[in-house]
Symmetry: C2
Subunit: 243 residues, 2 copies
């Protein structure tokens, strides 16, 4: 783990790092010492580790809960180089959609492929970050919607350190098998008028989680219109389960 | 409005009253003076104004938010006398169910009948309670699930003083017309395995609210198994909308 920068602002310490060429960022309370809960945040498609949506919520977890938060760029996103394989598949998919194929199953298959890379990457990130004295081996939470859900479901299913997860804005049937292996508390966000995820698929994915503690939160609006109070709810959720 | 008792315990003042023979209870912070938000709570079927579920949440609204809370017995419940008409219909309905009719539509029609009495009763209760100096004419919220939803939807639709409502555990199609007149923020609670309310009917009632701010919260469990964190969420919801 190579540290690129280490700065402080408004009570929050931000450390940019690189782990085996994966660019990442770690946020902790300014004077943090000792073990604390850690939240891994997965960004959306076309976004990156310091996307404003990620940043705002990460800062809330740090200031409201005294947690550590880590985010890394997904392959082909942010500061990562273009991956020729993923690029080729994306181009092929675009051609297949133009030829009349449905987009959603293509995206689902693509995300399943990327997840085979990100699950071990994110596990390595947890390993590295939890070795830091101001993070330590506390309970872990995962927050990710949209692409962050498509990659998050297989990650949460595979990683026993994760004790609670906020997921949503996703419903690919290809995720059901992994969802059925998830038993930790889940808060699942649905946009009631999501133009990308059919409502029935969202409800079916919620159904698929094996967790006995799972809450579906649905709000009117399209895919990108997540309401601010759901972020408050995420803070409450992790405070309840990770403290 | 006739005051029957006035006691204090653990920072909460409880006043039992009777208004035109409707037995009611008002909770306020012990030393409350001046106008504050008021929440009207509607109890469930077979329950009463001081049911433990009502009591626990009412106390939360008072202690966490400094609100006033009022609850009254629904006709044929609690300290109210047996109403021969309602009693006769209930007996007839039981016979019809035994003869093979579906229960849910009979309950829906019955609740619609009772609502024609409770809507004006609850409006009179608001009038009376808001005349008290330690309550005053602040914003009003409504909280009610199950029977409290069946009676609450027509009440919230009819009463412009209500600025936000928590409803749920109900889905009667007979409520859709009133729901379509509701435009205030709604938090709508669904039990995912509700043995009394079909899931599709719950989702359809959520759809029917005209509110641009509405959240559906679904949790696994049967009709009576509402999770404790949904009560926390109700407190947050009213704090956000009535303060």
């Amino acid at each position: 783990m190579r540290l690129m920068s280490d700065t402080c602002s408004e009570g929050i310490r931000e450390q940019l790092f690189s782990l085996d060429d994966i660019p990442g960022v770690l946020w902790t309370p300014e004077h943090a010492a000792g073990t604390r809960p850690l939240i891994l945040m997965g960004h959306g498609g076309g976004r990156h580790k310091k996307d404003p949506d990620i940043l705002v919520l990460a800062h809330r977890f740090v200031t409201a809960c005294d947690f550590a938060v880590v985010a890394v760029d997904v392959p082909n996103h942010g500061d990562r180089p273009v991956d020729p394989t993923y690029d080729r598949i994306a181009t092929e998919n675009q051609a297949r959609v133009e030829a009349g194929e449905e987009l959603a199953p293509l995206i689902a298959d693509f995300q399943a492929l990327v997840a085979r890379q990100t699950v071990p990457e994110w596990q390595a990130v947890l390993d590295a970050v939890q070795r830091l004295a101001h993070v330590g081996s506390g309970p872990v939470g995962y927050w990710g919607v949209s692409l962050g859900c498509g990659l998050g479901v297989p990650f949460v299913a595979a990683e026993p350190r994760v004790r609670a997860a906020v997921l949503g804005l996703g419903g690919a049937p290809t995720l059901h098998a992994a969802a059925a292996r998830i038993t930790v508390p889940v808060e699942f966000l649905v946009q009631w008028d999501d133009e990308r995820v059919p409502r029935e698929e969202s409800l079916a994915l919620f159904d698929a989680f094996a967790s006995t503690e799972k809450s579906l939160h649905a709000n009117p609006g399209k895919h990108g219109d997540l309401r601010g109070w759901e972020l408050d709810s995420s803070v409450e959720f992790f405070a309840r389960h990770l403290r």
